[in-house]
C-alpha cells in the first residue's frame, strides 16, 4: 500500500463514514424519542436515490401514488377519529391540507418536464415526495402502538422494512440506478484526484450534523424532542405530545435518509434492496455510541466507513464480515461498563 492508495481508500472511507454518521444519528434520534429501532431507515435511502434517478431519466417515480394512497388512509383515519368525538375546524383544515399537498405533488410530477429540471429542483421534488412518508409511517404503523413494549415495536419495524423493500421493487423495478454527480469538476490533492461528489457528501453531511446539533441545543422545538427522550411523562405534562414528537423525528429520519440516498446515488449503484445493509452500518455506528451518545455514534460511524474501505483493500471478500464483527468488542465493552437502567414506561 502506498500513500496514493491510502488517500483513495481514506476518501472512500470518509465519504461512506459521513453517510453512516447521518444514518446513525437518525437511528439514535428516533430510538431515544420513540423507543423504535428504525429498521426501514435504509428504505428512505434507496427511495431517495431511485426517485432521483427516475426523475433524471424523465420517468415517473411512481412514488407519488404511494404518497397519495398513504395520505388517503391517514386522512380517513383522522376523519374517523373526529367523527367519534367532535369535528374540529382546525383539524379538518389539517386533513384538507394534507390531501391537497399529496394531490399537488401528483399533478406536479405528471406535468413537469422532470428530466429538464435543474438539479436543485429535482432534489427538492425528491425530498418533497419522500419526507412526508416518515410522519405518515409513524401515524399508521407506530402511533397505535405507542405504549407497546420495545420488542413489539421492533417486530413492527421489521415488518414495515420488509413491506417497504417489496414496495420499492414494485415502484422502481429490479434494476440498479445511478444519478449524475452534483457537479463535474474534480480537485487535485497532491497526486490524487478528489471526486467532487466526495466533497459534496462530506460537506453536506457536516452541514446537516451541525444544523441538527444547533437545532437540538438552541431551539425550543429541539429541546422539546430531547425532553421527550429524557422523560415522556414530564414532556406530556407540558403539552409536548409523544405523537407530535414521533412525527417530527420520523420526518427528520425520512429527510436524512432520503438526503443520504441523493448524496450517494452518483457514487454507488443502488438497488431497491440496498438500503438495509447501508443503514445497518449506521446502526453499528450507533451501537458504538451505546445508542445514547450522539458524538460517539458519529465518530463510530466514520470508523465503520474507514474499516470498510481498508478491509476492501486487504480482504475484500471479508469486507462485510469485518465491519459487522466490529460490533462485538463494543457490545462486550458496553455490557461490562454500563449498568442496567430500569425501563420507566
Amino acid at each position: 500500500m502506498n500513500l496514493q492508495i491510502a488517500t483513495l481508500l481514506g476518501q472512500d472511507g470518509l465519504t461512506n463514514g459521513a453517510i453512516y454518521a447521518l444514518l446513525a444519528l437518525s437511528i439514535l434520534l428516533v430510538f431515544t424519542v420513540t423507543r423504535i429501532l428504525l429498521i426501514p431507515l435504509g428504505e428512505f435511502v434507496t427511495f431517495g436515490a431511485l426517485t432521483m434517478a427516475a426523475i433524471q431519466m424523465g420517468k415517473l417515480p411512481q412514488l407519488e401514488w404511494l404518497l397519495l394512497g398513504l395520505t388517503c388512509i391517514d386522512c380517513s383515519l383522522d376523519l374517523y377519529q373526529q367523527a367519534r368525538s367532535r369535528f374540529n375546524r382546525r383539524k379538518l383544515q389539517g386533513v384538507a391540507l394534507k390531501l391537497g399537498y399529496a394531490a399537488t405533488l401528483v399533478i406536479l410530477v405528471h406535468t413537469l418536464p422532470l428530466a429538464e429540471l435543474p438539479m436543485g429542483a429535482q432534489i427538492l421534488l425528491t425530498l418533497a415526495l419522500i419526507v412526508p412518508l416518515g410522519p405518515i409511517m409513524y401515524r399508521l404503523f407506530f402511533q397505535p402502538l405507542a405504549d407497546a413494549p420495545s420488542l413489539v415495536l421492533l417486530i413492527v419495524s421489521i415488518a414495515v422494512h420488509v413491506s417497504m423493500v417489496g414496495t420499492g421493487l414494485l415502484l422502481f423495478g429490479p434494476e440498479g440506478a445511478r444519478t449524475k454527480p452534483f457537479s463535474d469538476s474534480g480537485f487535485h490533492l497532491g497526486s490524487v484526484m478528489l471526486k467532487s461528489q466526495t466533497l459534496w457528501v462530506i460537506l453536506v453531511s457536516i452541514f446537516l450534523i451541525v444544523t441538527l446539533f444547533i437545532a437540538f441545543e438552541r431551539t425550543l422545538y429541539g429541546k422539546a424532542l430531547r425532553a421527550t427522550a429524557v422523560n415522556r411523562m414530564g414532556a406530556r405534562l407540558l403539552g409536548i405530545s409523544p405523537v407530535f414528537a414521533g412525527k417530527v423525528t420520523f420526518a427528520l429520519a425520512a429527510f436524512i435518509g432520503s438526503a443520504s440516498g441523493i448524496l450517494i446515488a452518483p457514487i454507488t449503484t443502488l438497488y431497491y434492496d440496498s438500503g438495509f445493509i447501508i443503514s445497518l452500518k449506521g446502526f453499528v455506528g450507533a451501537i458504538i455510541g451505546g445508542l445514547v451518545s450522539y458524538p460517539l455514534a458519529a465518530i463510530g460511524s466514520v470508523a465503520v466507513g474507514m474499516v470498510e474501505a481498508f478491509s476492501m483493500f486487504w480482504a475484500s471478500g471479508y469486507k462485510e464480515i469485518i465491519v459487522f464483527t466490529l460490533i462485538i468488542p463494543f457490545l462486550i465493552w458496553r455490557s461490562m461498563t454500563s449498568h442496567h437502567v430500569e425501563d420507566d414506561e
Binding site: L220, K223, A224, R226, A227, V230, N231, M233, G234, A235, R236, L237, L238, G239, I240, S241
Partner: protein, 252 residues
Amino acid sequence: MSTQDNKLLNVSDLHVAYGKVEALTGIDLTLKEGQLVTVIGPNGAGKTTLLSAIMGVLPSTGTIHFNGQDFFSPEVETLVGHGLGLVSEKRELFSTMSVQDNLLLGAFLRYRRGDTSYDTTLAEIYSLFPRLWERRHQQAGTLSGGERQMLAIGRAMMGKPKLLMLDEPSLGLAPLITREIFRIFADLRRQGVSILLVEQNARAALKVADYAYVLEGGQVAMHGPAADLANDPRIIEAYLGLASKHQELLSS
C-alpha cells in the same frame, strides 16, 4: 362561564379503577376561579389518583368540567392545552437538561402558539426562586430535593396555567423549605392563580387553603371551608394531632 358560577373545575361522579380494584368511587369536587382548594387524607386514600385522573394520566369515568368545557377521560395534552398544569409527586423533571431548559420547556405550548412573553414569566420565576437563577446552567438531576421541587413548580408556572395542581409538594422536604414553598402558594393565590393542592401536611395545607376536601378510602369523607375543617375535632384528632404539635415546635 357565568352560568357555571365561575367554577373553574367541577368533577362529578369520578371513578377510577386499577383492574378490579376501585381506587376512587364517585368523587365530586368543585374549585372556583382564584381559589386554593386542598385535598388531604391518609396514605392510599386516592389523592394522587384523583389528580392523575383529572389530568388525564389515568383513565376514568365521570365528568370533568374544566374552564367551560366538559371532558370525558381526556388526553393529558388536551388538558394542558386548555390551561391545566400538574406538578406531579415524582416531579418528572428532565434530569439531563439544564435548569433553564427545564423552565423554558414549561412554556412550550405558549411558544408554539406564538406567545413570546414567556421571558417575562421566566424573570418572575427567577425572582420568586433566586436559587434557580443561581443554578440555571446546572443539570436538573444535580439539584437537591427542595430545588427540584422549586424547579417543578416553576416549570409548571411557565405555562401560565389557569389551574395549577400540586401533588404532595412538601414530600421529603426539610421543614424550612416546606414553609417557604407554602409561603409561595399563598403568594400565588393572592396573585389570582387557582390552585388544587394535595397534601399530607394537613395543617400547613389548611392554613393556606380556602376550601378543603378530606379523602378517605377513595371517597370524599368531609369537605368544607378550610378554616372550619381546621377547627373540626375529628380532623384535629385524625390529621392535626401529632402534626400540629410538631409544627408548633417548628414555628416557635
